[in-house]
C-alpha cells in the first residue's frame, strides 16, 4: 500500500498522483500521452498503407484481379461489428462517468464480445484464403498465371495489414478484459476511470484503421 500524503486534500490521495497538481492536469497528461502512442501507431500502419499505395499503382491489373477474391459481405459485416463495438465502448465510458458499475461492466463485456465476433469472422475469411491456396509462401497458387507473382505480393499486403489489425484487436480484447476485472473490483469511481477512457481511445483507433482497410482492400479495384 502506498503511503497517504496527508498534505493533500482528503479526496485527492487515491486519485491524483503527487507529481500532478489537479485531477484535470493528470487526465490531460494521460490523454496527451495516449495520443502520442496512437501517433506512433498511425506511423506504423502508415508504412503499410504506403507500401499498399506503391504496389497498387505498380500492379493495377493484378490488383483488380485479386480484389475479386475479397469477401465483401464478410468484410462489410465486420465493419458494422466494429462500429457497434465502438458504440458500446463510448457507452462504457458514459456509464463510468455516471459511476454505474453494472452498466460499465455490461458495455465492456458487449465490446469484448463484438471484438471476438470480428475475430471469428476474420478467421472464416482467412480459412477461405487457406483453402484457395492464397496464403503467400511455398503453397501459394493463383489461377491466373499472368499475375501469379504480383498476386502473391498483393495477398502478402492483405495478410500483413489485416493481420496486424487483428493482432491489435487481440491486444484490445486483453485490455478490455483487464478493464472488466478492474471494474468488478471497484477500481473505478465516477471521479477516476482514466484507463476506461484511454483503452477506449485505443479501441476507436483500431476501428479507424479498419474503416480505411475495408474500402482499400475490399471495395475498390474490382470495378477498375
Amino acid at each position: 500500500m502506498a503511503e497517504i500524503d496527508t498534505s493533500l486534500p482528503i479526496h485527492a490521495h487515491s486519485e491524483v498522483r503527487h507529481h500532478f497538481d489537479t485531477a484535470d492536469q493528470q487526465f490531460e497528461s494521460s490523454t496527451l500521452g495516449m495520443w502520442v502512442f496512437l501517433l506512433t501507431e498511425i506511423m506504423f500502419f502508415g508504412g503499410m498503407f504506403g507500401s499498399y499505395t506503391v504496389y497498387r499503382n505498380l500492379y493495377p491489373d493484378a490488383f483488380a484481379s485479386t480484389s475479386h477474391f475479397m469477401n465483401v459481405t464478410l468484410g462489410g459485416i465486420n465493419t458494422a461489428v466494429l462500429i457497434c463495438s465502438s458504440l458500446t465502448m463510448v457507452l462504457a465510458v458514459h456509464a463510468a462517468q455516471l459511476g454505474s458499475k453494472r452498466k460499465l461492466i455490461l458495455f465492456l463485456v458487449l465490446t469484448l464480445l463484438l471484438g471476438c465476433v470480428f475475430l471469428a469472422i476474420k478467421y472464416v475469411e482467412y480459412h477461405e484464403k487457406w483453402v484457395d491456396h492464397h496464403i503467400p509462401g511455398p503453397g501459394f497458387h493463383y489461377a491466373d498465371s499472368r499475375y501469379a507473382h504480383q498476386a502473391q505480393i498483393l495477398f502478402f499486403l492483405y495478410f500483413a495489414m489485416t493481420g496486424m489489425h487483428a493482432l491489435h484487436m487481440i491486444v484490445g480484447a486483453g485490455l478490455i478484459t483487464t478493464l472488466i476485472v478492474m471494474a468488478s473490483r471497484n477500481r473505478f469511481t465516477e471521479h477516476w476511470f482514466t484507463p476506461v477512457e484511454m483503452i477506449g481511445l485505443y479501441w476507436h483507433f483500431v476501428d479507424i484503421v479498419w474503416i480505411f482497410l475495408f474500402p482499400l482492400l475490399y471495395l475498390i479495384g474490382h470495378t477498375k
Binding site: 462500429i83 458504440l87 476501428d207
Partner: protein, 101 residues
C-alpha cells in the same frame, strides 16, 4: 474531473451515421464509376474516420494541445502518402529526355 457528459443520443446518432455511410460505401462500390469509385470510397472513409475521432474519441472536447497532436499525426500521414504518390504517379509524365547523352 468535471467533464460534461455527452448525451447517449449523440452517440447513437453518430453510430447511425457510421452504419449508413458503411452501407453507402458498399452500394457506391457496386456502381461502375471509373476513377470516381476510389474518390468516393476514400471520401466516405475520411468522413467516417473523422466522426470517430471527433465524437467517439472526444477530440471535440479535448484541449488545444491534444488537438494539435492529433492534427499533426494525420498531417504527417498525409505527407507520407502524398509524397509517395507524387513520385509513383508522376513517373512517365515527363518523357525521360536524353539531354545527358
Amino acid at each position: 474531473m468535471n467533464h460534461p457528459i455527452v448525451p447517449v443520443r449523440t452517440y447513437i446518432a453518430v453510430w447511425a451515421a457510421l452504419i449508413a455511410l458503411t452501407i453507402t460505401t458498399v452500394a457506391v462500390s457496386k456502381l461502375e464509376l471509373g476513377e470516381f469509385n476510389f474518390v468516393a470510397a476514400m471520401t466516405i472513409a475520411v468522413i467516417k474516420g473523422s466522426l470517430v475521432v471527433w465524437f467517439f474519441m472526444n477530440v471535440r472536447r479535448s484541449s488545444s494541445l491534444t488537438r494539435l497532436f492529433v492534427g499533426a499525426g494525420f498531417f504527417w500521414m498525409a505527407i507520407l502518402i502524398v509524397f509517395v504518390l507524387s513520385d509513383y504517379l508522376s513517373r512517365g509524365w515527363v518523357p525521360a529526355s536524353v539531354w545527358w547523352k
